[in-house]
Symmetry: C2
Subunit: 269 residues, 2 copies
C-alpha cells in the first residue's frame, strides 16, 4: 500500500488542479481555491484511500484521487455554507477568515454551490478511468449521503429548523449526527471500497459499518473539543455550540459521559 | 408525439412525487415542495420533452419525466439561492413569498443545496430506465451547464463580483447571459435529445444551437419585461435590474434596440 503521507501530498497537489480544470478562469476560481486549500485534515480523502487500497492493493492512484476529491469538495461546500451568517455565523475556519468574511456572502453561496456541482462533474468525468456502472454507483452513494436524506437534512436538524426534532432525545441527536457527519464519512469509506473493486460487496458492507462508527466518534469528539479547547487550537470559534444552543451530545449527557461514550466507540472500532 | 399539455400535467404530478422519494420526511421536505411547486412555467422540462420526442416518437414518458425534473430542480435551486438577501434580495417569486421569506434564510440555503443534490440523485437512480453510459452523459451535461463553467459563473458575473467583467462590453454581457441562462436551457434541449437517443449526435448538435438561441432570447425578454411590466404581472419585484445596477442588455443598448435584438433572434430561430 502507498504510504498515507504520500497519498496526502499527492492529494494536496491534485485538488487545486481539479478546481482549475472544472471552473472558469475568473475571480470565482480564486475563491474556490481559497475555500478548499486552507489546511484541512483531509480525513475523508484518507478514509477513501485506505478502503480503496484495502480492497485493491494495485488501485490506480489517479482513480482514488478523483473519487477522494469529489468527497472532499462536498465536505468543503458544506463548511462554506454552514459558516454563513444565516447558518452558524462563523468568522474563522482553520485559523483563517471564512469564505464569506474573506470575500462576500454572495461569493460564499456561489462557491458552495459550484463546489457541490464539481463533485458530480468529477465522478461523471471521462478522465475517471472506470466503467460507467462504477461511476453511477459512486454518484448514487455521494448524492444519497450529501442531500436531503443525509448531510443537508442533518444540518437542518442541527439548526433546530425541524418542528419534530427533540434535542432532549438521544435517538434524535444520534440520527442528526449520523446524517450531518456520519453519512459523508461513511460514503468516503464505501466509495473507496467501490472504486477499489465494485464487485466486492462484503468489503463495502464492512466499510459502511466502520464508516458509521468513525462518523459518530468524529462528531462526539468535535462536540467535546468545542467545549474544551481554545479558539486558537481549534482554528474556529470555540464554545459556539453552547452559545448557539446546539443539540450536542455534550449538552445532552455532560462532558464526562460524552468522553465515556467516545471511549466505548473507540473500543468498538 | 404526446401533447405538451398532457406532458405538463404529468410533470406537475411527477415533481412532488420525486421530492417525496428523494428526501426525508421532515419540515425540510415541506420547504422543498414549497420552493418547487409555485406555478413555474416549466420551460426547461417542456424543451427537454420536445427534443426527446423529436428524436424518438416512442420515448418512454417515465424517462423524459425523470430527466426533465432533474433540470427543473437545478433551475429551482438557482432561483432560491438567487433570491437570498445576500444575492438579488427578492421578496416575491411567482407572486408568492420567496423561500427565505416564507421560512428562514438558513432553510432557503439548505433547500437550494438539497435540490441541487436531488438532480444528480435522480439522474443516477436505478429507476431511470437507460444504460449507465446514458446516465453519465446526462450528468456530464447537467454538471457542466450548472456549475462554475456555466450557470453559477454567470450569476457570479451578474452580481458584479468579477474584477475582469466589463458591463459596458457587449461580449461580456452576452457571455454572462450564455452562462447564467443559456447554459441550462441548452442543457435541457440536449439532455432531451440524449435520453431520446444517445446515438443521434446530429440532433444533439442541433439542440445545442437552438438551445443557445432560445436561452439568449429568454434572457433578453426577461430584461425587457423587468423594465416594462408591473410587479403584479411579473410575480416578482419589477425594475430590480435597474435598482441593483445589473449588467442587462436593456441597460447596455436601450429598450428599443433590445427589442430589435430579440426580434432578430426570433427570426434566426
Amino acid at each position: 500500500m502507498y504510504p498515507i503521507d504520500d497519498f496526502l501530498n499527492a492529494f494536496n497537489v491534485f485538488l487545486p488542479k481539479v478546481i482549475r480544470d472544472f471552473s472558469c478562469q475568473n475571480d470565482l476560481q480564486q475563491a474556490l481555491l481559497y475555500a478548499t486549500l486552507n489546511g484541512g485534515k483531509r480525513t475523508r480523502p484518507v478514509l477513501c484511500f485506505i478502503f480503496g487500497s484495502m480492497v485493491n492493493k494495485n488501485i490506480p492512484i489517479h482513480n482514488i484521487l478523483h473519487v477522494a476529491s469529489a468527497v472532499e469538495l462536498i465536505h468543503c461546500y458544506s463548511l462554506v455554507h454552514d459558516d454563513l451568517p444565516a447558518m452558524d455565523n462563523d468568522d474563522l475556519r482553520r485559523g483563517l477568515p471564512t469564505t464569506h468574511k474573506k470575500y462576500t456572502e454572495a461569493t460564499a453561496i456561489l462557491v458552495g454551490d459550484s463546489l457541490q456541482t464539481m463533485a458530480f462533474d468529477i465522478l461523471s468525468s471521462d478522465v475517471l478511468n472506470c466503467s460507467s456502472d462504477t461511476k453511477i454507483k459512486l454518484i448514487q452513494i455521494l448524492s444519497k449521503a450529501s442531500g436531503a436524506m443525509g448531510m443537508v437534512s442533518g444540518q437542518f436538524l442541527d439548526m433546530n429548523l425541524d418542528s419534530q426534532f427533540d434535542k432532549n432525545n438521544l435517538l434524535h441527536i444520534k440520527q442528526m449526527h449520523q446524517q450531518k457527519t456520519g453519512a459523508l464519512i461513511t460514503a468516503a469509506c464505501v466509495m473507496g471500497a467501490v472504486i477499489g473493486d465494485i464487485k466486492n460487496q462484503a468489503i463495502q458492507d464492512k466499510a459502511k459499518i466502520i464508516g458509521g462508527l468513525i462518523g459518530e466518534l468524529f462528531q462526539i469528539q468535535d462536540d467535546i473539543l468545542d467545549m474544551t479547547q481554545s479558539t486558537q487550537t481549534l482554528g474556529k470559534t470555540a464554545g459556539k455550540d453552547l452559545t448557539n444552543n446546539k443539540p450536542t451530545i455534550t449538552a445532552f449527557m455532560g462532558l464526562d459521559n460524552a468522553r465515556f461514550y467516545a471511549d466505548d466507540l473507540v473500543q468498538k472500532l
